[in-house]
């Protein structure tokens, strides 16, 4: 029996002027699973996430969320769909002008119309969930370390208990221990919520920890996908080079041709 799909991309193209970033992406994300997209810088990973969220409009192709083509949605319908999503950004993207608790509670107050007092209680609970005390809630984001900012970003991503969570380079810029702490938190939080997740990363340790399935994006196309156990025997030279971090291989050869 085939799995129920939460997100499905069919032949998605996106370019910026003459530069073609996505060149016919096809991807299935089954409900309740964690899919990780790996690939080098500039291969279109972030653009793909932004197309799914509607921040960017694809030039061609269809994007289905719960079986509905979101590329054809009106503004109101898109807003309804967005309420299913949470996202942890690469740089955390916390709002500088708001205290930490209000960052975490933002989706509850603005998106769901919850009272500030009730939202603050939930925000404090979510901060506790990611290992931060209530006193942190009163600080400004600028007063936090990189690791703490990521944890606040994670608390914000899970605060509305979304059905789908995107993680954009969740461990970039962190030391290996803090990166592992974030990976553990992601796995625990996703397990608690039963959410479907789509992550993009360069960090193979992170990918192996949080993924059920892995796909590799190269030159705007998915060139390999499989389970995380299969990736070490993919038989794909590009994947092998990437996961072992070798300077030599087909990816370097392509670069030298430029």
């Amino acid at each position: 029996m085939s799995k129920e799909l939460k997100i499905q991309l069919k032949n998605v193209h996106k370019g910026f002027g003459p530069k073609k970033v996505l060149q016919g992406i096809n991807l299935d994300v089954p409900k309740g699973e964690s899919v990780v997209i790996i690939g080098g810088s500039g291969t279109g990973k972030s653009v793909m996430l932004k197309c799914i969220l509607g921040i960017l409009e694809p030039d061609q192709g269809s994007i289905f969320v719960d079986g509905e083509d979101v590329t054809k949605f009106s503004r109101a319908a898109r807003k309804r769909t967005l309420s299913k999503f949470g996202m942890l950004f690469q740089g955390a993207a916390l709002f500088d002008s708001l205290p930490v608790w209000e960052n975490v509670a933002f989706g509850l107050i603005q998106g769901k119309g919850m009272k500030r007092k009730d939202a603050k209680e939930i925000a404090i609970e979510k901060l506790r969930r990611v290992g931060l005390g209530p006193d942190v809630g009163e600080l400004s984001p600028a007063e936090l370390s990189g690791g703490m900012q990521k944890r606040v970003g994670l608390a914000r991503a899970i605060a509305t208990e979304p059905e789908i969570i995107f993680f954009d380079e969740p461990t970039t810029g962190l030391d290996p221990i803090m990166a592992d702490v974030i990976n553990d938190l992601i796995v625990e939080c996703v397990k608690d919520l039963g959410a479907t997740t789509l992550s993009i990363t360069h960090d193979m340790a992170s990918a192996r920890k949080i993924a059920d399935g892995i796909a590799m994006l190269y030159k705007g196309q998915i060139i390999w996908e499989g389970s995380k156990d299969e990736i070490d025997h993919s038989g794909n030279d590009y994947v092998d080079q990437f996961i072992h971090g070798r300077a030599q291989g087909p990816i370097e050869m392509e670069l030298l041709k430029l």
Binding site: L53, S83, F85, F89, A93, L94, D96
Partner: protein, 261 residues
């Protein structure tokens, strides 16, 4: 060497594209101002930032300008034995032109740049994308409150600037030039017409819109990290200055173009 006609064509096309983009941005922003919900908490916060924080610089500009104007008109008027026109010309010049224009330019320098820098930083650090993922329309949350606050606040600021400007003229006129205090105030009141005040406040409101629009537009679409934010800030101030001076000319011609006085 490139064909000069091609270069001119590219510049014209780029300018038209920019005007089109700015028009679309303005239309979207206005549509969010007239459609509820309006974030009044944010509007009040921006009114405070724009109005209260600009008050010292706008007040000082008006005070010094009014005073210098009185001195200049006195010297010029004395050539025709017309020193008594000082209060009338000062109030007309301040209320019709210098109050709103200089006030607008000073606020543009402070506020357009600050808005462009803040929104530009939010853009390059993905905070604007984060708003979208939190089911919040960036136009509704970021742009509309700034525009509304500026449109409401600028007339109040300019009203205060007009009063301070006239006071500057009064201080020099009565304290240094020997004009009679009672006569100065009487002539000021007699010369001032309702249309002068209304046009001053209308100009201020339009300038407020321009200041917030340019700051928001250039910040919202900034690209390329710190350098992009810096460029957006400069563009916001320069375009706000030019747009304010152009709008001032248009409003002046419309309001006073058909009048003899």
């Amino acid at each position: 060497m490139r064909n000069p006609l091609a270069v001119i064509g590219q510049v014209v096309l780029a300018s038209l594209a920019e005007i089109g983009s700015l028009s679309r941005f303005s239309a979207a922003a206005i549509s969010h101002i007239v459609r509820p919900p309006i974030y009044w908490r944010l509007v009040l916060n921006h009114m405070w930032l724009i109005g209260y924080n600009s008050l010292p610089v706008v007040g000082l500009t008006a005070l010094f300008t009014g005073a210098a104007l009185a001195q200049q008109i006195y010297v010029g008027g004395s050539r025709f034995n017309a020193e008594s026109v000082v209060p009338g010309v000062v109030v007309i010049a301040i209320v019709r032109e210098l109050g709103p224009v200089l006030g607008g330019l000073m606020v543009a320098g402070r506020v357009s740049s600050a808005m462009a820098a803040e929104l530009g930083t939010m853009r390059v650090t993905e905070q604007i994308d984060a708003l979208v993922t939190l089911s919040t329309d960036p136009f509704k949350y970021l742009i509309a409150p700034r525009l509304l606050a500026a449109v409401i606040t600028l007339p109040i600021l300019v009203l205060v600037a007009n009063i301070i400007g006239v006071l500057g003229g009064y201080m020099i006129g009565t304290g240094r030039l020997g004009l009679n205090e009672g006569t100065y105030l009487q002539v000021t009141v007699d010369f001032l017409e309702r249309a002068d005040v209304i046009s001053s406040l209308v100009k201020a409101s339009v300038f407020g819109f321009i200041i917030a629009l340019m700051g928001s537009y250039h910040g919202y679409y900034s690209r390329g990290g710190a350098q992009g934010v810096g460029k957006a800030t400069t563009n916001a101030v320069v375009s706000a200055f030019i747009a304010i001076l152009l709008a001032n000319l248009i409003i002046t011609v419309i309001v006073f173009g058909g009048r003899g006085a």
